[in-house]
Symmetry: C2
Subunit: 363 residues, 2 copies
């Protein structure tokens, strides 16, 4: 929830870029005028200065602390979003004649599969395309010779989330863009994790990559310097000019997350928000959640109203009441409420009250 | 020159990220609290909203207007810096069995050559490495079958600048990172121009690419979606979540440049600043400019003092007087003053006065 000096109340359910803590906005806004009493804007400081080196160091240290990563895992802030990782991952990990296993459980996984096919063979071990990606496939096997197994932990568009991960010796590679830092997880089980910052980490324009050293250096193709994870590791994420301000916003958001109680506290808050919303949806027959119960996401809640006319009407009600980003993705339709870490419970309370009132009028 | 509430005066000679106009900082700072009276921060708006679409559209239109680009040239804001373009250019333009011509006149050109060799043959048509890149090679030939000819218009580290371009039918590809929008030029002569934003366009975290349609689609290799210029053209620079805030800072800087009088006015201001600095250097034997006169850059002025002791002393004088980013790059040593568009003449006046005083004391 954000308020301007005109006290315009906005509830930001955007799917990403999305809501961040108010204190992050205030600190970022101030740093653009004067960063750390340097007399310089954060936008005009050199990235090779102590001023910025401290930002990069603290941001990486906070990721390590918050995610409880062991020393084998390297932490990188890279240019581009998750879409860049869709090809950077196979470019670094998949030889021409080798194969990788992929789970196809949504729009983003499908895109990742397309890019991997440029570099080697791809085994799609399971797909939920048959039911418009409204569930997470289970009970599949992973080929023993796969170079890695790629999965998407949370599907932003379809509103599904993986609540269990396969027990396998194959290196796990995960796109965690839309649920990273939102729930407790043994992140050390993953050999590579990537996430565009613009949901739970910070603002758009930077990518968090966590990578285990032992999977690197095994492909035979020559890698462009900027695409080579090892080069970024060796240069401490400063191979070239990093997206300075985006990294700084990550630092501010990570500090907020830590002093708010860390991932465990975020998980509690997110559970409270998503349970309230799902309970409301389940109690009102007018609204129909589209995802199988066991695979529901705590980050992106998707539902429809079976009457197009009432959908338009409820959308109008939402807009009148300051709800932003509540319209569903065009591939699913209906509604989507994204409940990222920084979204206050109050926003969900206002939304669910609107649903109650609307259902009463149209029940 | 920036002043804080404590009236700390800073003269920002950083080579990039570097000084931007004060009004850009003020507007950017405000937009982080409330963007265009939306009640939302620029950091939390969806990139598919009208709010951001207008930013992207205006930024691209301003680039077209300011650079006077014809309709064959497409304007893209891409993730990454110029270092990403070092490989993206040959990936898109150079077939395995074809060759590209490169001019080697500094650190960045050398890096571009290294990346191009991954994709095809590279002909280095001339190099100024023999004298530590203190001049621009001239009188070279370009092979008639080259797919393109790559040059660096301004060498940030060495302080040289190209003041003439070869008359050739081979498509020209230029890294203009450190002098774009600083001087009048027929930009339509170039088939591809790229520039990291963090000097004259905006803040770090985004890359401006201007590309002529007719050179695209000619390579046979499959391109990762995010690396394919045509994909970005077709999607209006919104193939994935763009670096929203960085694009917005570009827009603010482009608006400032336009209402300040455009490139012609920038060129005049930059000439005034660089002439004052070079004239001072030439008049004081204590200071020795490292670049051949005819190839001097109006953006990055490089000089040394032949006594290491006096170098340290003058550096201390600069620091005491609020000069930031004045130390030369480690590969050249000495001093470097970067005079980008937003650096006020006053900063150069203060610097040259310090030089006069210092020379008088140590002459």
């Amino acid at each position: 929830m954000a308020t301007t000096h005109e006290t315009k109340v906005v509830h930001n359910f955007n799917s990403g870029p999305s809501v961040l803590p108010r204190e992050v906005f205030e600190q970022a806004s101030h740093a653009i005028l004067d960063f750390n009493h340097s007399g310089l804007s954060i936008l005009e400081i050199g990235h090779r200065t102590t001023l910025f080196q401290e930002v990069m160091d603290e941001a990486r240290a906070l990721v390590r602390e918050i995610m409880q990563l062991d020393s084998d895992h390297e932490i990188l802030f890279l240019h581009g979003g998750a879409s860049t990782q869709f090809f950077q991952v196979p470019m670094n990990l998949l030889n021409d004649n080798a194969r990788a296993a992929y789970l196809d459980c949504g729009t983003w996984g499908t895109k990742a599969i397309k890019e991997a096919k440029i570099f080697g063979q791809v085994d799609v071990v399971a797909s939920s395309k048959d039911r418009n990606y409204c569930y997470i496939p289970k009970g599949y096997g992973i080929p023993g010779d796969a170079s890695y197994f790629h999965l998407t932990t949370n599907n932003t568009i379809e509103g599904t989330q993986m609540h269990a991960f396969p027990d396998t010796a194959i290196p796990l590679v995960a796109d965690m863009s839309s649920d990273i830092l939102s729930r407790s997880m043994d992140f050390n089980r993953f050999s590579l994790i990537y996430a565009g910052a613009q949901k739970n980490i910070g603002a758009a324009g930077v990518n968090l990559v966590v990578v285990k050293n032992d999977i690197l250096g095994k492909v035979k193709r020559p890698l462009p310097t900027m695409m080579d994870y090892r080069q970024h590791v060796q240069n401490g994420s400063m191979l070239n000019t990093p997206p300075v301000f985006s990294v700084y916003v990550c630092l501010l958001t990570l500090r907020w997350l830590k002093h708010s109680g860390g991932i465990r506290e975020m998980e509690k808050r997110n559970a409270r928000k998503s349970e309230l919303l799902y309970d409301t949806l389940d109690s009102l027959p007018l609204f129909r959640p589209t995802v199988d119960k066991e695979d529901r996401s705590s980050m992106n809640v998707v539902w429809v109203i079976d009457s197009p006319e009432l959908e338009r009407e409820f959308l109008a009600v939402c807009k009148e009441n300051g709800m932003v980003g509540i319209r569903g993705h065009r591939s699913v339709g209906g509604f989507r409420a994204s409940l990222y870490n920084a979204l206050p419970l109050e926003s969900v309370e206002v939304l669910t009250q609107l649903m109650q009132d609307f259902a009463q009028r149209h029940g």
